[in-house]
């Protein structure tokens, strides 16, 4: 690998190549800035890629959805726990954390699904299954009083 920050890190969850915010090193944990997945950095074939941290565990999907909500300033539905149960059921039945409210089970529908990563929450106020909700804007003038 060359010195200095790499141009991109490949995320195996959303297939994005994202620019890391900090210096990278083998085995270091970074968060994908597109889907919120926590990744263990691995160097190889001239580029950095990420290994899914705690792959396919309850911890992985909880951390991912919390990470994604944090990145986008979204909040959660009151049905969060039921939707997480659905994601775990999807993993058990179809092999990964695909949206529990869609019949499809392919990489486009890894949670957060491609439409959600592409801005559905901004457009519609929520994602397809209603897990992520658009954050409330702060009323700055009221806060200033």
């Amino acid at each position: 690998m060359t010195d200095g920050p790499p141009a991109r890190v490949f995320c195996p969850v959303c297939s994005a190549r994202f620019p890391p915010k900090e210096d990278v090193a083998e085995g270091k944990l970074v968060r994908c800035s597109v889907c919120g997945q926590l990744l263990v950095l691995r160097a190889g074939n001239g580029e950095w890629s990420g290994e899914r941290y705690a792959q396919l565990t309850d911890d992985e999907i909880r951390d991912r959805v919390n990470g994604f909500a944090g990145l986008r300033d979204y909040h959660f539905s009151e049905m969060k726990e039921e939707i997480l149960e659905g994601l775990l059921a999807k993993r058990d039945a179809f092999g990964d954390f695909y949206c529990p409210c869609r019949v499809e089970h392919n990489s486009d529908y890894q949670c957060p699904c491609k439409p959600t990563r592409g801005g559905d929450v901004e457009r519609h106020g929520k994602c397809h299954c209603g897990l992520f909700l658009k954050g409330m804007k702060r009323n700055r003038s009221a806060l200033a009083i």
Partner: protein, 83 residues
């Protein structure tokens, strides 16, 4: 004779679970089809049927005679079931 109540659902969908639970709590007998667990050919046929009825692939879909309720909506269910 009362209409047969049919629900098209996904086995992993929390809204579908809520709808099934609501119907059970109200002692409504229903026939449930978990679309995601059907074999490919049957799934394709059922999805076409759902799209024809509702214009989309959203779940759950509850069919009561000629009435169709898409999504978990207890007020609409009470209305169409006369509860």
């Amino acid at each position: 004779m009362p209409d047969v109540v049919k629900i098209f659902a996904l086995s992993t969908c929390p809204y579908c679970r809520r709808t099934k639970r609501f119907l059970s709590e109200k002692n409504v007998e229903y026939e449930a089809v978990d679309v995601d667990l059907l074999d490919d050919a049957e799934q394709e046929r059922v999805l076409e049927e759902i799209e024809e009825m509702t214009g989309r692939h959203s779940f759950p879909v509850v069919v009561v005679g000629s009435e169709i309720v898409v999504g978990h909506d207890e007020e609409k269910l009470k209305k169409v079931l006369g509860l």
